[in-house]
Symmetry: C2
Subunit: 378 residues, 2 copies
DNA sequence: TTGTATGCGTTATCAG
DNA sequence: CTGATAACGCATACAA
């Protein structure tokens, strides 16, 4: 029996209306109703109008569950991210939701909390929910990828973003970190730096490895020596960057520029340079990576790389929709690498004419205002 | 006809298995399968084991769509937020998702982009998706609340958070902003400030109105005069706060403390005080609001109010689940106000002994590390 | 152009 | 304790 409440309903309670109800009211078949509502070709315009009008009158809401059950595909996309915090993932999710909703899809969001087991469970849940496709950014503890095999065997469209399974048989969207390291370093070189240090992150993580490689590429291109003593490996946290910078400044020939593979590294470097009474960017120019919110509020503001978070989300959705539309037909997997954007700010600009024009760093202000807007109600 | 592909399936493609399949294989009825899987009381333990084993063998995944369709309720919660960016909303969503998934629910997330029309559309979509309940933070352009009436008439459980519909006939979770303004100001008073300015936000927004009221409460309690010339109204952005601070410092008796109703206000104040060669906190102590990420990286770090974002999400889910479980039975609406947490940092601590112990501001470091962790892969 | 009939996968009811 | 059956709301193959 239907679980419809037979008991006396609450005072102002409306019971939802179904296609069958509309059909009965109009004295036509459900088929007709269905066709009118889904804008099927074989439907008389007069009939269609009548149906639409009645639907509006009764405030008809299609039941997407029923539709999805029947069609075997819902209008839902699943997202699995390690967590929804910090600057990066929320922005990507923002991009995903926007792109998805524009295409008529909604998103179910799951957090793996950096835990493979939970990642696995999330995938199962999304399968159960009959989502049309899945977007995944890997948990840090994921070393074994069999659970994704399961999705594949079920024919579930799958796109990775940011933290991806390496290889050319997966669909994925990433930032071109190597390019990011390259343009940052080249920028420092263009500003006259000749001895550029690198505050590196953990090299088992691809992003940091690639940023370092980009740094080396730029040095090589400029004919500058690759000096391992100028590279300090850290966990990319502020305190370690401070130590790193202290060591670098204590060396016989201290650096005149620093490319940090993360903004917290750049921040630590900036603080230590200041502490030693040196000037940024005149004595040491600094560039970071990730466009953290704080990079525009430091004194001076920090040059950094924007990771195109929203674009990443959009690109991932685009790819996923293609995959969904392919509907099981052969589809050549694609890996998309987004071009990072160098945001030049005061921590790196030595040319004074350029510098003056940058003092107001408009893109920075935009960022600050956007962030202020984004922070609660402000 | 079922849309099951009749064409030759892809090489390693598995077709999903249903209860009917299991029933056939075991030679029992679907009813039995259903009961075994849903742990119904009237099922033999032997039978149950057999079924569970077979389910595992075939990797059975229940179809939640079918279940929800039949039961008239899904295991989905809907969230409508203005956007997923900045510090606040992502954290709340994080809290919501965690609490929901712990209770066996998943969340569909929708952005209104500060647009009532989209907010309305989102609610319709969520109704269509047959969610079990809805969590809403109002768009800024929402002045008319009839669309929520529709949810109510459908008996859809609804909880507001942060940006709520005022009144005691709604379920809502908010931060106690007045308390926040109060404890911040009292803290400044305890640090010896006797002339405390207030950088206020737009007063048509409740949060800012309430923070201002809390500020006044603290002054009154301490017997300090309420001086309107010490209150500057801004849109809570950095540039306006700089101007505000300049004016305040130019007055005949400049303030020795500033409570800003937002961290961007505190930041601007800090910068202007420094620019004028004054010291923070010795000459002017400063406190902000919202615990933005940058408040721990400024020099000095900024005392602020934590908004309990995650707790807010959790509380909202708790309330919503109660509502869902009440299942239409009379439920007295409840408004929950979370206690804000004062985070004392260097911008406000004048007592040197306390100050030294705070130089490392452990909660700040935790924050920084968490943020670093949260920023991409770091 | 419209109608009839059936099934998607699950669960509730009722009878054994 | 188990089974047969109907129904949730919708979409489609097929007949008219």
């Amino acid at each position: 029996m239907a679980p419809r409440k037979k008991q006396a309903p609450e005072p102002n309670t409306t019971i939802p209306v179904s296609m069958a109800d509309l059909a009965r009211e109009l004295g036509v078949s459900m088929t007709t109703i269905s066709r009118a509502l889904s804008d099927h070709y074989s439907i008389g315009p007069a009939m269609k109008q009548k149906v639409l009008k009645l639907a509006k009158k009764y405030n008809y809401q299609p039941n997407r569950l029923a539709s999805a059950l029947r069609k075997g595909k819902s209008q839902l996309l699943g997202i699995v991210v390690p967590y929804i915090e910090g600057r990066f993932f929320p922005s990507v999710v923002h991009g995903i939701e926007s792109a998805a909703s524009k295409a008529g899809y909604n998103v179910i969001i799951c957090q793996s909390n950096e835990d493979v087991a939970q990642e696995r469970r999330n995938l199962d849940i999304l399968l159960s929910a009959q989502v049309a496709g899945v977007l995944v950014s890997l948990s840090r503890t994921t070393r074994d990828f069999r659970h994704f095999e399961k999705l594949r065997s079920r024919g579930m469209p799958l796109v990775f973003f940011d933290r991806i399974v390496e290889g050319d048989n997966v669909n994925a969207v990433v930032l071109d970190d190597q390019e990011g390291g390259y343009v940052s370093t080249r920028h420092l070189i263009e500003q006259g730096c000749r001895r550029i240090a690198h505050i590196a992150g953990p090299q088992h993580l691809n992003i940091y490895k690639n940023r370092r490689q980009g740094y080396l590429d730029a040095l090589r291109e400029a004919g500058l020596p690759e000096d391992e003593s100028l590279i300090v490996y850290t966990d990319m946290i502020q305190s370690q960057a401070i130590d790193a910078m202290r060591d670098l400044l204590a060396s016989p020939i201290p650096p005149d520029g620093v490319f940090a593979a993360g903004d917290y590294g750049a921040l630590g470097a900036l603080q230590e340079v200041h502490r030693q009474g040196l000037r940024v960017p005149q004595d040491v120019a600094i560039a970071g990576f990730s466009n953290e919110t704080f990079t525009v509020v430091t004194e001076p503001s920090i040059t950094t790389i924007d990771q195109r978070c929203e674009e990443m989300g959009q690109a991932a959705v685009r790819l996923l929709l293609e995959l969904i539309e392919a509907d099981g037909r052969p589809f050549a997997p694609r890996q998309v690498a987004l071009r990072p954007e160098l945001l030049v700010r005061n921590s790196s600009v030595r040319n004074s004419s350029v510098r003056n024009s940058l003092v107001r760093h408009p893109e920075g202000e935009r960022l600050v205002e956007a962030a202020a807007k984004a922070s609660k109600l402000a």
